[in-house]
Amino acid sequence: MNPKLHSVLTINGERRDVLAPASATLLDALRSVLGLTGTKRGCNHGVCGACTVLLDGKLARACLTLAADVGERAVVTIEGIGGNGGLSPVQRALVEHGAIQCGFCTPGVVIALSELFARDPRPDRGAIRGALSGNLCRCSGYAKIVEAAERLAGEAR
C-alpha cells in the first residue's frame, strides 16, 4: 500500500521519530503522529496561516511542508514558544489586550508575531500588519491583535 518513511525531526529542541507516509505533511506529523495539537489545521492548502510554525527561525506553513523534507531544519511549534510552561511576551500581550476571540488562529498569530519581534523588537504598524498578512482571523479580530502587538512594541521603546 503506502509504505511509511522514518524521519527524525527536531521539534522544540527535542529529537522526535516520525513514521509516516511520504505524502504526510509536517502538520500531519505534528498533530496525528506526535500529538502536538496546538498547531491548527485550517484550510490545509497554505492560505489561512493557522498551521504556521518556525522552520530554522523562519515562518513556514506546516501544511505545505512535507515531514520527510524537513530534514535537519529545526521546528518550533506553539508548544515551544513559551518555554517552561510560561507565556512569552507576545502571548502575554495578546492575553492582556483581549486579542483572542475563538482562539483558532491564535497559535499561528503568536508564531508570526514571535518571528517579527525576534528580528525587530520595535515594529511599527505597517511592519505588524505585513507580518500578519498571511494569518486569517475569521472572528475578524484583527484590530485587537494589531493593537496588542503595537503595545508590546511600545514597551520595547
Partner: protein, 267 residues
C-alpha cells in the same frame, strides 16, 4: 509515493526517470495541490540539497543569474540595480505571504506556471530566459517560449529548471510592477509588469493562460490607456471567483498606465 533527496543534479536526473516523478522545490504550490487531491505523484525528488541550484550571481552586464531554488524572500531583498533585476525583486515582494515567501522558490513557481502568478509576468517583461537541465545537457529558453498555456510549460519529462537569467534592461530604463488583488498576498486579478525608458516593454498577467507581451513606443497617458484597451479587447481573461472577464478587461488599461508611469514618470 516515495521521496528521494539527491545532493547532485546528476542524481536528481536519474531519480526523475521513475514513472510519474515530480520535482519538489519549496513545496508551496505542489504540496497544496497534493493536499487538495489535484496532484498525486508516484515519487517526489526533493531539490533542497542540490547546491548548484542555489544562489544569485550578478552578471558583468548588470543582469542576474538566479538559481532555481532561490526563495521569493531572497529575491525580494535584492538591492535595487538595473531595471530587469529590480522588476523581479518588486514582483517577489508581492508573491503570497511571508511564510510562503520564506520557502517558495522561483524555479518551483515558474515550473508550476499558474496563469495568475507574478513571476511569469515579470520575466516576460524583463526579456528573461530560463535555464533548463536534464541528463542530456543544458538548454536555455526565452521566458515567452517557456510558458505554453494554463499550468503548462515547455519542460519535457526529466528536465529541471536550474536557473533564471535576467538581463539588465535598456540603459536608463526603470521597472514597475502593478498588481491588483482582493487582499494582500492573494493571486493577481490582473497584474502588469513594465520596463520603460524612452519606450516600454510591458507584460500583462491574469488575462489569459500566459502573460501577454507588448512593446509600446508612445508613453503618454492617453496612448497607454488606448494600448491597454486594445490588449484587453484581444485578450481572453477567465471569469472566476476573483473577478469576471469583463472586470479584468475594464481594469487592465489603468493598471497598464500605472505600471508604465511607475517606471517612467514623464512621457
Amino acid at each position: 509515493m516515495d521521496y528521494v533527496a539527491p545532493t547532485t543534479l546528476e542524481e536528481a536526473y536519474r531519480a526523475l526517470e521513475a514513472e510519474d516523478a515530480r520535482c519538489l522545490a519549496g513545496g508551496q504550490s505542489l504540496v497544496a495541490m497534493m493536499n487538495l487531491g489535484l496532484a498525486s505523484p508516484a515519487r517526489l525528488v526533493g531539490l533542497r540539497r542540490i547546491e548548484p541550484l542555489r544562489g544569485v550571481a550578478r552578471r558583468p552586464d548588470g543582469g542576474l543569474r538566479i538559481g532555481a531554488m532561490t526563495t521569493h524572500a531572497e529575491l525580494a531583498a535584492l538591492e535595487a540595480g538595473a531595471a530587469g533585476p529590480a522588476l523581479l525583486a518588486q514582483a517577489a515582494r508581492v508573491v503570497a505571504y511571508p511564510a510562503v515567501r520564506a520557502w517558495g522558490t522561483i524555479g518551483g513557481s515558474i515550473a508550476h506556471a499558474d496563469p495568475a502568478a507574478d513571476y511569469p509576468v515579470a520575466l516576460l517583461a524583463a526579456g528573461a530566459s530560463i535555464e533548463i537541465g536534464s541528463a542530456r545537457g543544458v538548454r536555455q529558453l526565452a521566458a515567452r517560449d517557456f510558458f505554453r498555456g494554463f499550468f503548462e510549460t515547455a519542460l519535457a519529462p526529466g528536465e529541471i529548471v536550474t536557473a533564471v537569467h535576467v538581463p539588465p534592461g535598456p540603459a536608463g530604463a526603470r521597472a514597475a510592477y502593478e498588481k491588483l488583488s482582493l487582499v494582500a498576498g492573494d493571486f493577481a486579478i490582473v497584474s502588469v509588469a513594465a520596463i520603460a525608458g524612452p519606450a516600454a516593454q510591458v507584460a500583462v498577467g491574469g488575462c489569459g493562460p500566459t502573460p501577454i507581451l507588448s512593446a509600446l513606443a508612445d508613453l503618454g497617458d492617453d496612448a497607454l490607456l488606448e494600448a491597454g484597451r486594445s490588449i484587453a479587447a484581444a485578450s481572453d481573461p477567465p471569469s472566476d471567483h476573483r473577478a469576471s472577464a469583463a472586470y479584468r478587461r475594464r481594469v487592465l488599461p489603468e493598471l497598464l498606465r500605472r505600471a508604465v508611469r511607475g517606471a517612467h514618470p514623464r512621457p
